[in-house]
């Protein structure tokens, strides 16, 4: 787990007492005191999420509203996604880019009646909101949601469980959002997540969050899941972690996120770094993010050097560890484009020893998103 070494006092989410009561081991993460695991442990929490449903506290993430009639069109000046074409109540994954096409953050944007609602990374939220305020036209108000919580309910039984508290919510489409009463509390529910499984993210007022968390945890299918399993779940799903797999030095094309660049945006451009990004799209990038499967059992952690058969460095691991569902070590990293073909043999230098590995398809575990 990447942990922040921030000496500033740690903030707590509205669910802090729920975590403590459930035996969570709390760690500093992005300025917050967060549960890395509960008594069951990372492996059990991971496997439970893939088999039934896991409840995650992601209240540390940044939630904001962009208010204004042209909010979607205005935000397009900062991201390569097609937001103007996003229907009401639809959600899209997109990227804040810098002038060279580097990724400032990845985020979820949902079209609402009065603009957009955004969910951004905890570690980037202050920087993101400042960036938005500085760059968006005066008519677009950037309003961070203060005193709000965000819960994620993820897993194949998430829809069944949530529908008990919010009848009909199981009919919500993937990457769609709706306002809903969940166990009597007004919530904003999105069918999305960060595990590769079907699931929901539930945004609600902080003071109502502990009761809703307890109501969901009281369901026999639901277990609390910490950041440790959140990381192994998203790695198996091949999803990027900001600051590790993507950052200001990586472009959407290198990161394998070209699918987030809307068709209209490819022809019109008009987003930061468009020249560089569109050139990479047509010519191909010099390096690419790939999945990597070590042949042996040794996990290759972030920062591991990737070498070819002559021992020449061809890249670096950006996320790596043991995949509980895969039952073997897995990693993602960047390699030179010539080495990015599936099955390409590589070596990972772990504790000074070059160990054989191969480029593998992503995701490592098939996505099981809800398809109506």
């Amino acid at each position: 787990m990447p942990l922040s070494a921030d000496p500033a006092p740690l903030r707590r989410t509205p669910l802090h007492a729920v975590h403590i009561a459930r035996g969570a081991r709390m760690v500093p993460f992005a300025g917050y005191e967060m549960p890395v695991q509960y008594a069951a442990g990372i492996l059990a929490e991971h496997l439970h999420t893939r088999a039934q449903a896991g409840l995650f506290d992601v209240s540390h993430m940044g939630q904001a509203t962009l208010r204004g009639a042209d909010a979607a069109r205005a935000l397009e000046a900062l991201v390569p996604g097609d937001l103007d074409g996003l229907g009401l109540g639809r959600t899209r994954y997109t990227l804040l880019l810098n002038e060279t096409g580097g990724i400032l953050d990845d985020l979820m944007a949902t079209r609402t009646a009065d603009g957009l609602s955004l969910v951004v990374n905890a570690s980037r939220k202050e920087a993101d909101f400042a960036h938005l305020r500085e760059r968006l036209p005066r008519g677009i108000a950037v309003e961070p949601l203060i005193d709000w919580a965000l819960l994620a309910l993820q897993g194949p039984l998430a829809a069944t469980v949530l529908a008990r508290h919010a009848p009909g919510i199981d009919r919500l489409a993937f990457m769609a959002a709706t306002e809903a009463s969940v166990a009597g509390t007004r919530c904003w529910v999105t069918r999305s997540g960060y595990t590769g499984e079907d699931g929901f993210e539930i945004s609600l007022a902080a003071d109502a969050a502990p009761a809703l968390a307890e109501a969901l945890l009281a369901e026999p299918e639901v277990a609390p899941v910490g950041l440790g399993a959140r990381d192994t779940l998203r790695l198996e799903a091949g999803l990027c972690l900001y600051g590790h797999d993507i950052d200001e030095g990586t472009t959407p094309v290198e990161a394998g996120l070209s699918w987030t660049i809307g068709k209209r945006r490819r022809s019109e451009g008009g987003f930061p770094g468009a020249d560089a990004v569109l050139r990479q799209l047509s010519d191909g990038p010099r390096r690419k993010r790939v999945g990597i499967r070590p042949d042996g059992r040794a996990p290759a952690r972030e920062g591991t050097d990737i070498v070819d058969d002559s021992g020449r460095s061809v890249g670096r691991v950006t996320s790596g560890g043991f995949g509980p569902t895969v039952g073997a070590p897995i990693a993602m990293g960047y390699v030179r484009a010539e080495q990015a073909r599936q099955g390409e043999p590589l070596s990972l230098v772990v504790r000074g020893v070059a160990r054989p590995a191969r480029v593998a398809p992503l995701p490592f575990v098939p996505h099981r998103y809800h398809r109506a």
Partner: protein, 125 residues
């Protein structure tokens, strides 16, 4: 009667004749969480007191296991390589790491006995 000793790095060492078995403590496995990978030295290798002798990786991170004493590795526990969760399940028993022929019995003298280790762990909060 075998002698059981502990290090401040949470390894245990059990003396039987001139051979010691080495492993990690229950506190160590609980702090690591689920063990998913163990790397053990080749038999015949000499390990040095306080130097890295093995690697244990949890779902979260990799950690070194330091040799509590110096000597030659005469046997390693392949069962924990095949099934790393044994380290969590029985760290002081089936989850042993290696057996080492002790070079200098005096090296045991600086280590903690069980009572001292228990109070050392209690002091970690």
């Amino acid at each position: 009667m075998s002698t059981l000793r502990f290090t401040e790095d949470h390894e245990w060492v059990r003396l039987d004749g001139d051979v010691v078995a080495i492993g990690i403590t229950d506190y160590a496995q609980s702090q690591l969480g689920d063990v998913v990978y163990v790397e053990l030295p080749e038999p015949g290798r000499r390990v040095e007191k306080g130097k890295e002798a093995a690697v244990v990786e949890s779902a979260k991170a990799a950690s070194e296991v330091y040799a509590p004493v110096s000597g030659e590795v005469i046997e390693t526990n392949q069962a924990i390589v095949e099934e790393p969760a044994r380290v969590n399940a029985d760290p002081m028993g089936e989850g042993w790491f290696m057996k080492v022929r002790l070079a200098d019995a005096a090296e045991l003298e600086g280590l903690m006995d069980e009572a001292a280790y228990t109070s050392f762990v209690a002091g970690l909060g």
